[in-house]
């Protein structure tokens, strides 16, 4: 018995030992409850994943939603506590690491620690992720009802939420990478949810592989940083690499490769990781295809949460990025190009979800270049965000508002799809009669994304444009055009769905899907309408100090008018059924076609993978293995056999011949040892 207790003790000691590094007594006694936020969805995942299929098939949705509700309440409570009670010390929002334990120690100082990092952006993200996720959970109760793998669906949602929350809370860059990968896999599972559909299978594979490729960059970036900084902890990392004259910074600056410093390389590589998840050009190809997943999933993953992981990553590493001008430029240009590029494609697409996907990509491009243009002043060595840090706040703000209205757009689209059982715009039209609530909420979202005041998007986009304007005129102009395009394609979508031709609805339609589907729409619509009035600069800034966001009404004239222009163009073209769009498309033949075919990026990828990777690398490798390496082995065997066959004549069966060989052997040995080998 004592043995058993001892063994149990050791097992506990070995397997469950969590070594706490620090639990900061920061005034709230809520520290441990932070862990509950990600762990509750994870518990849901385990519960539903292991037992869902057999035992709790029907109540799966309720259980998962309830768990997430607790999480959401907790995160909002924590956001409240952080921003309004304990977060601000001496006028600055602090970074806290209330919980941390060493998970895997590579070498002295370099270890993967699991911890919780509390700072403005993580708290903001916690709230937004849990909130959107909760909305999606609720929405799915109706949307996915009757699906064969209902519990599995919720299990995957739980896993995803868990991973995303873990990513957000990460206190260690490797921890972030770990959850980053988990996010990737949950998105794989969710995209491939309809696993019987070959297109879904292809899409989930593509999503995973493309982001994996990007993650390679992230990983290498981590390796470089860890080598130079000797740590993986975010706080220590920032501390070591941003202090002028520190040994680590010196080594990161001085070791160069292809003309760029290690720091720049690390930042760029990490950004590539982020670009993969955030679908920046040219790693965006997975995003449109990922729309094969259930629509609520698209709302969750491809609108509000996962795709902004890249933005979050760059924001998290912002102090380090800001140490490298090259990296900041890289971020800026990739961001702005992706924004424009995606907007152009979005104008031509006919699949409702794809349009939304490209719009997501475009909006994330906005966030990215906003981060990029908020580079710090490095001239005198010390950090100085003043004036230029505006982009950071703007990006975070836009992330926040975008999450809300993009989720709303997707859920609205889901509602439409639920009703019409098709993704194609050509099957839709005139749905405002059938889907009144959806119509209104969708319109609000479209206005928000187009940047029409006073909806949420207006404020955040305004700040981004302002930051761009202060940085470089070129960026500003492109951004402006893109925002016009945004308004155009969003309203193209809106009019094509809800106006345009009248759709004949066959038989008895089942309305808007009931309370469970409408509640999230309404809640999100309220958010999309009013979230812009939050004084974001008071909470989230690059350096933690609240920043006064000055509102210049003169400056807004251009963006608002270009947005309105876009809206009216869309209205003119699409409000009623006519042949103007076709005519325009025909007149822009080549461009239209290129845009419609997503500028042939997919084909390029296909060429690279199928033709080059498979045919020029994989096939030769397999061939080489089969014929050369294996051939060598077989050749050895065959040669032995062959020699064996060739020398059989010695054993001729003639006894006299044997004697001749005998004598020859004697003479040979004698000659060798008398004359040659003395």
């Amino acid at each position: 018995m004592i043995e058993v207790i001892r063994i149990t003790y050791y097992i506990m000691n070995e397997f469950l030992q969590i070594r706490l590094l620090q639990v900061l007594p920061i005034g709230w006694n809520f520290g441990w409850s932070l862990l509950l936020i990600p762990l509750l969805p994870f518990a849901g995942f385990l519960l539903l994943g292991l037992f869902g299929r057999k035992y709790i098939k029907n109540s799966a949705g309720i259980i998962a939603t309830a768990l997430l509700l607790v999480s959401t309440v907790l995160s909002i409570y924590i956001a409240y506590v952080y921003f309004f009670e304990y977060g601000k010390v001496m006028g600055m929002y602090q970074k806290f690491v209330p919980i941390q334990f060493t998970w895997l120690e590579f070498s002295q100082g370099v270890s993967i620690d699991f911890g919780v990092l509390i700072d403005p952006i993580s708290v903001m993200m916690l709230a937004i992720v849990t909130f959107i996720s909760l909305m999606v959970h609720i929405y799915s109760l109706a949307y996915m009802k009757g699906d064969e793998r209902f519990p599995t669906y919720y299990a995957f949602l739980g896993l995803f939420t868990f991973s995303m929350l873990g990513l957000v809370m990460a206190s260690n860059i490797f921890q972030m990478y770990i959850f980053w990968e988990l996010v990737g896999v949950s998105s794989f599972l969710l995209i491939g949810y309809y696993y019987n559909k070959p297109s879904a299978v292809a899409a989930c594979k593509k999503a995973f592989i493309v982001t994996r490729f990007a993650d390679l960059g992230f990983l290498l970036g981590i390796l470089i940083l860890s080598f130079h900084a000797g740590t993986l902890d975010f706080n220590t990392l920032v501390q070591r690499l941003t202090v002028d004259g520190s040994e680590e910074l010196h080594s990161a600056y001085t070791s160069t490769f292809l003309g760029a410093s290690a720091l720049t390389w690390a930042a760029i590589l990490i950004f590539i990781g982020g670009a993969g998840k955030s679908a920046m050009f040219p790693l965006h190809v997975w995003l449109p295809d990922a729309m094969e997943g259930p629509t609520p999933v698209s709302a969750l993953i491809h609108a509000a949460t996962m795709v902004v992981a890249g933005v979050y990553l760059v924001a998290r590493m912002f102090p380090i990025f800001s140490m490298s001008e090259g990296a900041m430029h890289f971020v800026t240009y990739v961001g702005i190009f992706s924004a424009l590029f995606a907007a152009l494609i979005a104008c031509t697409q006919t699949d409702i979800k794809r349009v939304l996907a490209y719009s997501t990509m475009s909006q994330i491009g906005f966030m990215m270049f906003a981060l990029g243009v908020s580079g710090s002043n490095l001239k005198n060595g010390s950090l100085n965000y003043s004036g230029l840090g505006a982009g950071y706040t703007a990006a975070m703000f836009h992330l926040f508002t975008h999450a809300i209205f993009k989720a709303l757009l997707f859920l609205g689209a889901g509602s439409v799809i639920h009703f019409i059982h098709s993704n194609e715009l050509k099957d839709m039209g005139g749905l405002r009669k059938y889907l009144p609530i959806t119509n209104i909420t969708f319109l609000i979202a479209c206005l928000a994304i187009s940047g029409v005041p006073p909806f949420a998007g207006f404020f955040s986009k305004e700040e981004i444009l302002l930051a761009a304007y202060q940085h470089k005129a070129l960026i500003y102009w492109i951004a402006l055009i893109t925002s016009g395009l945004t308004a155009f394609y969003m309203f193209r979508l809106y009019f094509l769905i809800f106006w345009n031709k009248g759709t004949i609805v066959h038989g008895e339609h089942h309305g808007e899907g009931g309370f469970a589907m409408m509640l999230p729409l309404v809640l999100l619509a309220v958010g999309a309408a009013f979230a812009g009035f939050i004084p974001f600069g008071n909470f989230v800034t690059a350096d933690g100090k609240p920043m006064e966001v000055v509102f210049h009404w003169q400056f807004s004239i251009a963006p608002v008018s270009i947005a309105l222009a876009g809206i009216f163009t869309a209205m003119w073209l699409y409000r009623k059924q006519n042949n103007k769009p076709v005519a325009i498309a025909n007149s822009l033949n080549v461009f239209y076609k290129a845009g419609y075919n997503k500028f042939y990026i997919d084909e390029l990828y296909l060429f690279i993978t199928k033709k080059i990777l498979f045919n020029l690398v994989g096939r030769p490798a397999a061939w080489f293995d089969k014929n050369v390496v294996d051939g060598m082995v077989n050749l050895t065997g065959n040669t032995t056999q062959l020699i064996s066959e060739k020398i059989k004549e010695f054993q001729s069966g003639k006894v006299q011949q044997y004697a001749i060989y005998f004598l020859a052997g004697v003479i040979g040995l004698a000659v060798v040892f008398i004359y040659i080998w003395k």
Partner: protein
């Protein structure tokens, strides 16, 4: 904790199996024996931790030494450190899973289980021996059972594969033998004792000759490029449990030997040839991965991916840093569990669909959710998903590899890192084609896993997750042991 038990237990099981009358008894005996092995391995782990916690800092614990052939200075010297304990745990996991998945073997059941247990005997003996002679003895013991397992119970080109495997492995062990003899005489100790040799400075010229012999010799077991060609054929032809043992245990013998024997006792040689090792293992990693992409047979897929994954083991060893070496050992454990599970799943699928060609399958998730879920898990482990063991091991190797600032090591590391993308490609391709997509006709009535398969899978997954979620215990186990090897390496003057 008497280490002899680890040898006696499988021996006893094997003898009992031979005495049993019918196949049911044989299976039960094998199962009980393997459960006992698992219990023993855990007991060893706990006892080991107990000693360490109690402050026993000796390099090897539970040492035993009996004189055996005193004329040659051979002694039956046993002892374990963290690495051995980890490998023993791995072995016991794979053995029990192997026994369980072989529950349906009807052809010559007695012989089958006898050979399986014999194979485990060889592995245990190998991992606990501190005398190179008995190490070699156990290394070779494990070869012939593999040959017979493949040859008798295998499928496809089984004779060819069995022959190739046996001959290549014997070739490897022949090189090992010559290397060992070189050390034996070259060290002027006339001793096979690992500790004695490690405490001796073997002349550098001897190391330069013997290190490659030993490393390549063991490397053959561990699929060192270009001596990996037995792997695909052998694995694909072997019966399920055979593949599991082969990839899960046998390939680890090589990695363990490279680390414990070659690198540990000959640090000069290791430094001399480190670059070559790195080049070869990087080639193996990438090349294995690319070759896997082109495979259509599930077993070939896993076999080539084993080449790729075992490359990490050798890369970790070749990098000669503590972290990388720890990663190499972790990768051995991780890959052992993972690949055993992978082969188990393949076996289960094959038993039902009677094909291993991925393009002949599709949508199996619908009819056998349990099995395909395992396939997903093992696939994710293979492509290094966090939370599963593969990630931990690979990341440790990468971290350790990146410690060298010079471009050569950097490029090797980057190339190795690239394999995680390629791995994702082939794993997803395989999973996508088998588990997902429309269900093919004729597969509608297939059944899901049975109890034995479920238990086997759960045991292995338990191991994978235990490492993936809580790698620190494995790290704590291995770390001090690799530190000793590193100390020995560090004591050597740099070139």
């Amino acid at each position: 904790m008497n280490l002899i038990l680890l040898i006696l237990l499988p021996l006893l099981t094997a003898v009992l199996i031979l005495l049993m009358r019918n196949s049911q008894q044989v299976k039960l005996t094998a199962l009980i024996g393997s459960v006992a092995q698992l219990a023993l391995a855990f007991a060893l782990l706990l006892a080991f931790r107990n000693e360490r916690v109690a402050g026993n800092e000796a390099q090897m614990l539970f040492e035993l030494q009996y004189n055996w052939f005193p004329a040659w200075n051979i002694s039956f010297h046993l002892g374990v450190d963290g690495i051995s304990v980890a490998m023993i745990l791995l072995t016991s996991f794979v053995v029990i899973a192997g026994v369980l998945v072989s529950w349906n073997v009807t052809k010559m059941t007695k012989e089958f289980f006898f050979l399986l247990i014999l194979l485990s005997l060889g592995a245990y003996g190998f991992f606990i021996s501190l005398d190179l002679f008995i190490l070699f003895f156990f290394l070779e013991i494990a070869v012939i059972p593999k040959y017979l397992l493949i040859g008798i119970w295998g499928s496809g080109k089984k004779e060819y594969a069995a022959n190739k495997l046996a001959l290549m492995l014997m070739g490897g062990s022949a090189l090992v033998l010559v290397g060992l003899l070189g050390v034996y005489f070259g060290s002027h100790q006339k001793s096979f004792d690992l500790i004695t040799l490690a405490n001796t400075h073997i002349p550098v010229e001897v190391q330069k000759i013997c290190f490659p012999l030993l490393f390549v010799g063991f490397g053959v077991f561990s699929a060192l490029f270009p001596f990996h060609t037995w792997v695909p054929d052998g694995h694909s032809s072997a019966p399920t449990a055979g593949s599991m043992f082969l990839a899960g245990i046998s390939m680890k013998l090589g990695g363990y030997g490279c680390l414990r024997v070659a690198t540990y006792i000959m640090p000069d040689g290791a430094k001399e040839y480190a670059n070559i090792i790195i080049v070869l293992s990087t080639i193996a990693i990438l090349y294995g991965a690319f070759a896997t992409m082109m495979q259509k047979d599930l077993k070939y897929i896993n076999a080539y991916s084993s080449v790729s994954h075992c490359g990490f083991v050798l890369l970790g060893i070749g990098m000669l840093t503590k972290t990388a070496m720890t990663g190499a050992v972790m990768q051995m454990v991780s890959h052992g569990l993972m690949t055993a599970l992978f082969f188990a799943v393949i076996g289960m699928i094959y038993e039902r669909t009677h094909t291993r060609q991925v393009n002949e399958m599709g949508g199996l998730l619908k009819v056998m959710p349990f099995i395909t879920t395992i396939l997903f898990i093992v696939g994710f482990c293979s492509l290094g998903l966090p939370g599963l063991s593969g990630f931990v091991a690979e990341m440790t190797v990468f971290m350790g590899s990146w410690q060298h600032p010079d471009p050569f090591h950097r490029i090797a590391t980057i190339a190795a890192c690239m394999s995680i993308v390629v791995t994702a490609v082939y794993i997803l391709r395989a999973i996508g084609q088998t588990a997902m997509g429309p269900l093919k006709e004729g597969y509608v009535n297939l059944s899901d896993a049975k109890w034995n398969e479920k238990i086997a899978a759960i045991i292995l997954i338990g191991g994978i997750i235990a490492i993936g979620v809580a790698p620190f215990w494995l790290n704590d186990l291995i770390g001090p042991a690799t530190q000793i090897i590193m100390n020995k390496l560090a004591a050597v003057q740099p070139k």
